[in-house]
Symmetry: D2
Subunit: 387 residues, 4 copies
């Protein structure tokens, strides 16, 4: 199939309505799979001489025809973008069409190769960035949504930084971006950060970079993990540009806390005083009631610390954000009461937020300890909140 035909497939796909898309993916599933006979023969050959080329031929034989098709599409102008959009469509269909996971595995296999970090370019985003890119960032912001251009401009002022990864074939489409606040010491409230008046110059005493939002931009790249690289490269950039910034941490949501409590109570794993506490907070959320006694605050923080530190799934923390940062080599630094008082923040975690700490001298070692030994690093402050 030449580039002309690839372009034709691409154009045709763009025109397809929703139902036709399902038909298209089913066609890919059924007609563009591997050749069983060829695989069978390659297995035989491999088994008779399990070395020198036979494994390669077996590897090749188990590659589906879809993969070659996707490669061809990628060659056409805008091909990469088309494939990213194609996968975004496909992901929506997986739940009801689990067999299409096979198709997804193939397309994702290629994307892992094409969107590897070596091909991505870090771009600093500021008020000099072209408007159409800024407009996209506003739409893609997934953590703390933006209210129009004024809000965006504040997030690009002298005491803020924003960085995005771009791929060479998609120059007008950010892949992932992170927002950073430069301040004195750790931030403990995201509303404070966001509502702080715009500063014309960077505070010369700013010593901490707070990563307060990191958003994937392309649904079609789901699972292609680039956040790790983005955070680390941004840390490098900031250290080079601003030697006074010596502490790097996040101000992060705890998205799974309240639903974890609910389930644990329902399943009888949390009972007694803790159960009462959990129930009262869940009820407060419903009643939109925010009066909390000091003791309750201490107790719920402790319960939240337990959630982050002890609640596990496949040996790793249940909380997805915790999992992400701990795997990157961060430690849990501190829980912050009333860190996010938005309705989303209250609903997810009764407003509690957490700082993860990126201690550069220990990041590699902690990453290894987490990945290999499932060890969670915590700092003194958090360990007190846990006790």
């Amino acid at each position: 199939m030449g580039i002309t035909i690839a372009s034709a497939v691409e154009d045709a796909y763009q025109q397809l309505g929703g139902e036709k898309k399902l038909a298209f993916f089913n066609l890919l599933f059924e007609e563009f799979s591997f050749d069983s006979e060829r695989v069978r023969m390659a297995i035989e050959e491999f088994q008779s001489s399990p070395k020198l080329g036979t494994s390669h031929r077996l590897h090749k034989a188990t590659e589906t025809a879809r993969i070659e098709l996707f490669r061809r599409i990628n060659i056409a102008p805008k091909g990469t973008e088309t494939l990213v959009r194609m996968r975004a469509d496909l992901l929506l269909l997986l739940k009801e069409n689990p067999h299409l996971n096979e198709v997804d595995a193939d397309i994702r296999y290629l994307m892992d190769s094409w969107f590897n970090r070596g091909f991505l370019k870090l771009v600093e985003i500021d008020w000099h960035t072209p408007a159409h890119i800024l407009e996209k960032l506003m739409n893609y912001e997934a953590v703390h949504s933006m209210n129009g251009w004024e809000d965006l401009r504040r997030r690009l002022a002298a005491d803020r930084r924003c960085y995005a990864f771009f791929h060479p074939t998609m120059q007008d489409e950010p892949i992932i971006f992170v927002q950073v606040a430069l301040c004195r010491g750790l931030a403990d409230s995201v509303q404070e950060l966001l509502n702080m008046p715009e500063q014309k110059e960077l505070d010369t005493q700013a010593n901490t970079a707070i990563f307060y939002s990191i958003s994937d931009c392309q649904r079609g790249l789901k699972g292609i993990s680039l956040g790790n690289f983005l955070i680390k490269q941004v840390v490098m950039e900031l250290r080079g540009e601003l030697p006074n910034i010596t502490q790097f941490a996040t101000l992060s949501p705890i998205p799974g806390f309240s639903s974890w409590i609910r389930k644990e109570i329902e399943s009888g794993n949390i009972t007694g005083a803790k159960g009462q506490l959990g129930k009262s907070f869940l009820a407060k959320n419903e009643l939109n009631d925010s009066v909390v006694s000091d003791q309750d605050e201490v107790d719920i923080l402790k319960l939240c610390a337990e959630y982050l530190y002890l609640a596990k799934k496949d040996e790793e923390p249940k909380d997805p954000v915790a999992r992400f940062h701990l795997r990157n080599g961060a430690s849990i630094k501190r829980l912050n009461w009333a860190g996010d008082t938005s309705s989303k923040g209250e609903r997810q975690s009764f407003g509690i937020m957490v700082n993860y700490h990126y201690d550069l001298s220990r990041v590699e070692e902690r990453h290894e300890a987490f990945v290999n030994g499932k060890e969670i690093s915590i700092d003194t402050e958090f360990s007190r909140q846990l006790m």
Copy 2:
């Protein structure tokens, strides 16, 4: 393995001397292969249920550990360049270490993915191009070598064009480039083309683009075929920029002609008058004698036409340049006596050159006919030379 370690491997490799490199590749061969036990289990699983994921797992299991290692190296700064250089080193070792073909297959597999045409950028090269790029092109020119900057400048004048593909991770390294002369009608002599005095403006009656040189730049990308895409995109560019240019053709060497004659005579396949003719031309080459009778000229051209049209290897033309252009969808247009009178030209093909014709309206169809039916398209002029 993190990016830090990848950088370390990269640095270490750069320091290795010749012998150590062989050791390094042997290590890759022995210790970074696939896991036989894992493959065995994946085969079993596949055989018991040859669908839904099991083929994927088999595919994954037959992927070597080297592949993951190369992916990690690619992430480090300058990683792609390092891998290209690594493969250039590896290729030199293959002849004496055929087992390393396994390692090469893996690295090449990744390069096929990373250097796909969708990621390459076409750049027009002219006298405004940065000097370090021009210097590299001079060194990489493989077909008609350049004698310094004056020669280069002539090849970038108003009646010439030059285009190169670049990869986003190797901004200072051209991948492949092509040189084009714009003239009235087909060119029949490369010396005439190269020695024509520099023109300040393009002849308004120029109607033909002659592709007279196409050179791969990176030994480490051997076998990653991009010339096809380069020629086609350059044709598009020229059509857009210069509507008067309506004919696209090459002026190409015939690298295998004289050695083919020698072998055919030696093996008794060419005898009689033809054999005498061949011998006399081979002798002329040795004596550096260039007097040729008109009849001999006609006869040797006919023999050359037979070589291009009839001499085959695996059903395709024996001549590698013919194979390349015919597969791209070109036709054989015309043989040119005294087309390349350099010693290289005389040695390869007694000075004969050939024009391949890219007729845009038929290129796809001819490509299909060649690939599927092994059909060679020829034009009237060539068919007369063949008779």
Copy 3:
């Protein structure tokens, strides 16, 4: 005075409060003037030999010391911007300090030289333009103000164009910009233009470019006329890019019409039926009453045509916008009833707008006729409205 001192002056000026600025300009007036004695001597010398160098020396002698000071300031980083801001401040002081006109004449003399068209760069503005530039354009739009980013984006859509001049020393500051709508035939209502829904693609039948807004951006460059060059170069650009666009015209305000009527009535120059008509329209404006009979519409249009064509100041049209376009070589094409129904439009000209026509084949000739013979070119439609 070296560059260091120039920088110091620049910094010092930036710090000055309002009153101090007046003192600064007074100092320039008093202490940085010309040297009377030197002028006297140069006059003597010139009078004794009115050629060869003496006129130059007289020219030099009558140059003020301010001019040299401004030149030095211009050399400092951001010097040009400082001078532009300085003159913006100065202009505000002229009315109450007419002697400072001398200072202004000097600074303006230099700006005429520095902001000559040869040094300006035309830049197309679109949604890919950096946000900080777009933000400035929104603020500088003087004719039809913009309501935020959505409004701006609409003015940069596929059926619109926007171009600005930039000066090499002020890369973040547009000097002047023009907004263009591409449509079928002449536009007759600016509200229609502005409220037309955003189009994704340019109407292939669009044949007319309407210049509907042209705004100077720098108060400090008042009187440095660049609009003429901007319009002409934009016409060239559009002709090159869009061969289907063959008609170039404006949709312009008539800022002086209603105040001219008021004065003419007050001074007894307009009486009788015309006077009644004028009074009734002036009253309508006050009452915010827009019901107009067909006959009244015809009559007020005729009066407006007389204003544009006959009302003069120093032999040229009284209306400043008319003067600008006619001097550029345009003709008056047509008056449009209810062309601008905004309160500003009603107040200035009872909502009437006018199209000036740039007929490229006649623009030079009309320009000469206007400048030398004070001739006003009009098209057939307007001549009917005038009768």
Copy 4:
């Protein structure tokens, strides 16, 4: 005169042959001068009221019509370049046509305004610079000529720097450029500098920047002095980029030394032992004899020191290079025996070269002392050579 006519003048001028150019400039002299009657009236007006506007009008009246013509030409595309070329032609005619100095004064007056430092852009030149710019630099190098591309590349290696000023209207034409060598301590021989083998990396112990060549590129900008600004800005750049570089000096020719000696001997100002010494060195030059006794070396260096320090023209040093650097605020650091052993170096100054020292903490003060008090700053080493 509109831009169309300006373009026409420009085109016409380009076509003119040598003699026609003289006629063109004579026309400018005769027909585009000032209006005597208008000047006479402006003088009268000024004399009756020597303030408020009348000086401006006198200033304006003494401006020639040529100036307006040049301004118009400047507006046309490539206008600035045309004027620069025009003046280059004009300068060649001045000697035989001294009346054309009047025309030159006008064109130079404008160039002083247009080529002021505020409009120029500093560009670092290296091996990544476009080839057509590098080719021009090779041609423009006036001090130590380059032998082709290899020589150029050596001057752009890791231990060298090169910077040029560009004007926004002449993007392909450097205005002036300077070449710098980074080394340990003061350089004392230009041949050593130029022949030193190419270095891949900058010596980490390099502490001195030697400005060894500064060349004006545009004959048509003769007398527009930019070297001063170029040296100072390059010093700033180097200090920012390379904090280890703490000493800034030149290695400069002494172009007037030997011809000064000849004249002084001829006119009887140098006699006795000094006269003998001078004669012997002048004779050596003729005989191409370079054997010099140690005492003669010391003595001729002393005489050279006297030349630089004591020989004056209009109160400033006779030597043009000395005048240039001393006015910039440099001091005389040291004479170097056998600093330039090329035939040009021997001829000009018996091979002696001099280092001028730019001591940043004293440059302003020394500049003032030189300009106002004609004081020449010297360093200890030079003062010893002078004694």
